[in-house]
Symmetry: C2
């Protein structure tokens, strides 16, 4: 938990206040646990600031992250913080009529197209692009385009991208990169994932 003073004061012509409010691009990568979980933890802070939060879940799975989704939906509806929109590729992007007919690659690209529209409209204060590193890694969505769009995004829109194998170009563009490393995992000792822990 770093606090206090930064290591250097950059010669970028910005005031501390300007620098402080610069929108962040964060990437959580690596093979360990906690990449998405920490991103949803960030969403709690954004919600607490009253920011609209947009989650785009780039993975087709019914069971994973139901806890986080339920919690963030309850928070978003509580009226005590920001709103929360939760978009899931797996169950069909809400803005597309026949998402179920899309292949994974096409669906991932449709997700990115919507994110571009939302960034242009400054829809959210925080974007959680969960598992978005995968379609980038697989080349379904062009990393160079994503980096360019994020670099030029208007206003103060924070973005966190999760997933293994985040492409080098994305890491170069990110302000904050954390690698989650597995030191020890119960599955190594033969334990399967369990309710309340893995989902």
């Amino acid at each position: 938990m770093p606090k206090g003073q930064p290591n250097v004061v950059p010669d970028d012509g910005l005031t501390t206040r300007q620098r402080r409010n610069r929108p962040l691009l964060a990437v959580h990568t690596g093979t360990g646990k906690g990449k998405s979980t920490a991103a949803f933890g960030l969403a709690l802070r954004a919600w607490n600031q009253g920011w609209p939060v947009g989650v785009f879940q780039f993975v087709k799975s019914a069971r994973w992250k139901v806890g986080e989704e339920h919690a963030l939906r309850v928070l978003g509806a509580s009226g005590e913080g920001g709103t929360v929109d939760w978009h899931k590729m797996g169950e069909g992007w809400s803005w597309i009529q026949r998402d179920a007919e899309l292949g994974n690659e096409e669906a991932a690209r449709e997700g990115w197209e919507q994110i571009k529209r939302d960034l242009a409209a400054e829809t959210y204060g925080l974007y959680v692009l969960d598992e978005f590193a995968y379609p980038l890694h697989w080349g379904w969505v062009d990393t160079a385009e994503v980096v360019a769009v994020l670099r030029d995004r208007p206003g103060t829109q924070h973005v966190v991208i999760t997933g293994r194998n985040a492409p080098p170009g994305l890491l170069d563009a990110a302000d904050l990169v954390t690698e989650m490393t597995k030191v020890k995992h119960p599955m190594d000792a033969g334990q399967k994932g369990q309710r309340g822990i893995e989902w």
Copy 2:
């Protein structure tokens, strides 16, 4: 995000169901970000399962984690999941009359004493012992005792401990250890922590 089959099936005489429901001790350590954030993400899953969640925050700081605390308090009061108790060393443990007069070392030990009582009473389904690695590292609380108490805890009580410098004895005892590694951090580029991101 590991899913699917475990790597080995242990010869421990347990059924998959028994093994699946074995209470976990998880440790999030390392110098990177996301240790606590991922622990609070786990708390969202526990809440979603309807488990009572107990947070013990072993750090004196007014500003950090206010977002997570607000979110978890709203969730705990929503009636849609489990309850949430949030205990803070910094503002005085709720069960102690004059916590403000305690030194850090004594306050940390008082926190551990309460955790022991709660474990014996099976008060919570998930314990978030936030920054508890520090009092262990500094020797304020005895790691061997913590390991023994956790090993013998009754029922199905999951525990997650966060903090840099988690002692080797704790890592040995843990079922799941994740190290968060800083790859790149905005403070390296002279940026100070910002609202909604760092707290």
